[in-house]
């Protein structure tokens, strides 16, 4: 289990846990980030936001938030 930020570029992972309150869960769910969903890391910009793909949608997510989304690499 690793944070989304650690998922290497081009790799796939399944979301296993989202650390945060109810509001944070909701916010993530709006753009399709829910436990059980498969995500792909699209970029590896150092320090900046990362771009991921989930359900065919690309999403830009800040590092702080991305580190609270835990995935199992596949």
């Amino acid at each position: 289990m690793i944070p989304l930020t650690e998922l290497g570029k081009g790799n796939l992972g399944v979301i296993v846990q989202i650390r945060g309150g109810h509001g944070f869960h909701r916010k993530m769910a709006c753009l399709g980030l829910r436990v059980g969903k498969t995500v792909r890391n699209m970029t590896a910009i150092r320090g900046g936001p990362i771009v991921i793909e989930v359900e065919g949608t690309q999403i830009a997510i800040g590092r702080g938030m991305a580190s609270k989304v835990l995935v199992e690499a596949i």
């Binding site: 909701r26 359900e55 690309q58």
Partner: protein, 563 residues
């Protein structure tokens, strides 16, 4: 009667809106917020009814200001058209189910229908209709396909009967999607490849540089073209009228205020309410605003802006500026007015304050560039380079400082990056017209007021008075000759005139550099100032102005010591 268009962001809501409505559309701020929405009219069952393009929202459990507004507006709607992105059915249906739980008649427009087929998604519309219990109409807003049917189904809009808790709702969404949607093999389109290339730094940075150069170029070409071929000739036609009015009024306070003090009528410099007061907003600024909005609309609708935002977020995050903050900065280079207007795109007050202040101080407009070129340029490339390097350093240092000092935080980036799409010209045009109308009705009165105020202050001798009291600062701190005082004071609002007054003083290279930097930094033009007052509020603008003057004096003083 009100028909509301609701849906996730980037699903083509505004295109459907522009298909449904006529030319009479207006953008307004939701009371008490900076959230903008658009409103138009359409014919429905023999009556003129309101159509409202509600800000895009992912959920009715509002997490942002725009979403709160969307929820509040929902209460006023008589029919809701829920615009759903057929290519992302699962995410979109969550909002649909929430809308169906609100006892409002709903029709679903399954938009981007063609795109969903392209990428191999098959949706059973009949089954979806049965499961939701409301009409579902596939639409391709860009071509107009399905719009007529959508309108004809409005009377059949029905309130939903489903009720869910949050967890059940996601399950229900999954269940519906499982029943109605089949995904075939998909292949990457050219636009998708371009999309990947524009966020990857290696390819994205050169692409961004090209796009921004192109943007800047278009703004200059269109703006200057409009000035040279449309607005200046129009004002030349207007000139005899002013000459006649001037003769009729004769010398005196009325002529000074309406037309200006001088014998000759120089539209840019006369400072009369009917000369400069009209020329600045219409002849000098409107052309650039038009060009700016033309390009901005295209960049917005094509899907490039979010990619640019991701790309620059890395650098800009350290300046406390996120997301679109680079756009105001870059568009200020040339004319600060579009830049000032663009600060409105920023999410928080803090972001707007930092972007507006930084731009006014360190991003020179054409007039300021001309000042720099004439004053410092006459002393060679070294002097020019010193001015620009100083401005760049000020920009970065001040950005970091403001970020540290001003409380509040800039929210982290979290947004969808929509696929690249070819913009629909009808929606582009409508947006452009709406924004121009907004500029004329909201910004122009402020500019007129600013010109009037300066004019009165000048006529009353207040500006000359300020000059006398600031003389020790100019000579002592900045090391400029006594005669420069008047020029700098005039330059508060008329930089071009200031150059004319400084040139005969035969400044040394050092003095020219200091004068250029100070003139560029210490205050924006009347128009920019007026718009920043509107965007930031008078109190914040005072703070911003204090920062401008203080930093100009500080930097000028430091240059005087080190050069």
């Amino acid at each position: 009667m009100k028909i509301l268009l609701m849906g996730n962001p980037n699903v083509g809501k505004s295109v459907i809106f522009s298909r449904l409505t006529g030319t009479n559309v207006i953008a307004s701020n939701y009371p008490g917020t900076t959230v903008e929405f658009t409103k138009g009219k359409m014919n429905f069952e023999g009556k003129r009814v309101d159509v409202i393009d509600v800000p895009g929202t992912y959920t009715l459990e509002a997490t942002t200001k725009a979403e709160e507004v969307a929820v509040e507006m929902l209460a006023e709607g008589d029919i809701i058209i829920d615009v759903v992105d057929a290519t992302h059915l699962e995410r979109n249906l969550y909002l649909t189910l929430q809308l169906l739980e609100r006892d409002r008649p709903v029709v679903v427009a399954l938009n981007l229908w063609d795109e969903s087929k392209h990428i191999g998604i098959e949706i059973d519309v009949k089954k979806l209709e049965n499961l939701l219990g409301v009409p579902v109409i596939p639409t391709v807003a860009v071509t107009g396909e399905g719009i007529k049917e959508l309108v004809s189904k409005l009377p059949a809009a029905a309130p939903g009967t489903l009720r869910h808790t949050e967890e059940e709702r996601w399950c229900a969404v999954g269940d519906i999607v499982g029943q109605v949607q089949k995904v075939m093999h998909r292949h990457h389109t050219v636009l998708e490849r371009l999309g990947d290339a524009s966020v990857r730094p290696v390819t994205g940075v050169p692409l961004a540089v090209c796009v921004l150069l192109f943007t800047f170029l278009v703004i200059r070409i269109v703006g200057e073209g409009l000035i040279g071929y449309v607005f200046d000739p129009l004002f030349e036609l207007y000139r005899p009228l002013m000459v006649m009015l001037g003769d009729w009024l004769g010398p005196g306070i009325a002529r000074t205020i309406l037309i200006g003090p001088g014998e000759e009528i120089e539209f840019m410099e006369a400072m009369g309410l009917l000369t400069t007061g009209l020329y600045v907003p219409f002849g000098a600024v409107l052309p650039y605003v038009f060009a700016f909005y033309l390009v901005l609309g295209f960049l917005e609708d094509s899907g490039y802006l979010p990619r640019l935002a991701v790309l620059v977020d890395n650098v800009f995050h350290r300046l406390g500026l996120q997301r679109l903050a680079i756009i105001p900065m870059l568009l200020g280079l040339g004319c600060n007015v579009p830049g000032a207007l663009a600060t409105r795109m920023l999410e928080t007050k803090r972001q707007r304050f930092i972007a507006g202040t930084l731009m006014a101080i360190a991003v020179p407009c054409m007039a300021q560039l001309a000042v720099i070129a004439v004053l410092a340029g006459s002393h060679g490339a070294g002097a020019l380079a010193t001015v620009f390097v100083t401005l760049a350093v000020v920009w970065i240092v001040l950005g970091v400082l403001l970020d540290r000092v001003i409380s509040g935080e800039s929210p982290e980036i979290f947004m969808e990056i929509p696929p690249y799409r070819v913009p629909y010209w009808g929606a582009l045009l409508k947006k452009l017209l709406m924004r121009i109308r907004c500029f004329i009705t909201e910004a122009v009165p402020f500019v007129l007021l600013g010109v009037l105020l300066v004019n009165v202050l000048y006529a009353l001798g207040v500006i000359g008075f300020i000059g006398e009291y600031t003389a020790p600062i100019v000579t002592g701190l900045l090391g400029l000759p006594q005669e420069a005082v008047g020029a700098l004071v005039i330059g508060f609002l008329r930089k071009d005139v200031a150059v004319g007054m400084l040139l005969p003083l035969a400044l040394s290279a050092k003095q020219a550099v200091i004068a250029s930097v100070v003139l560029a930094m210490y205050f924006p033009c009347v128009a920019t100032f007026a718009i920043l007052v509107r965007e930031l509020g008078i109190k914040d603008m005072m703070k911003s102005a204090a920062i401008m003057i203080a930093s100009a004096l500080l930097v000028g003083g430091v240059l005087n010591l080190v050069l």
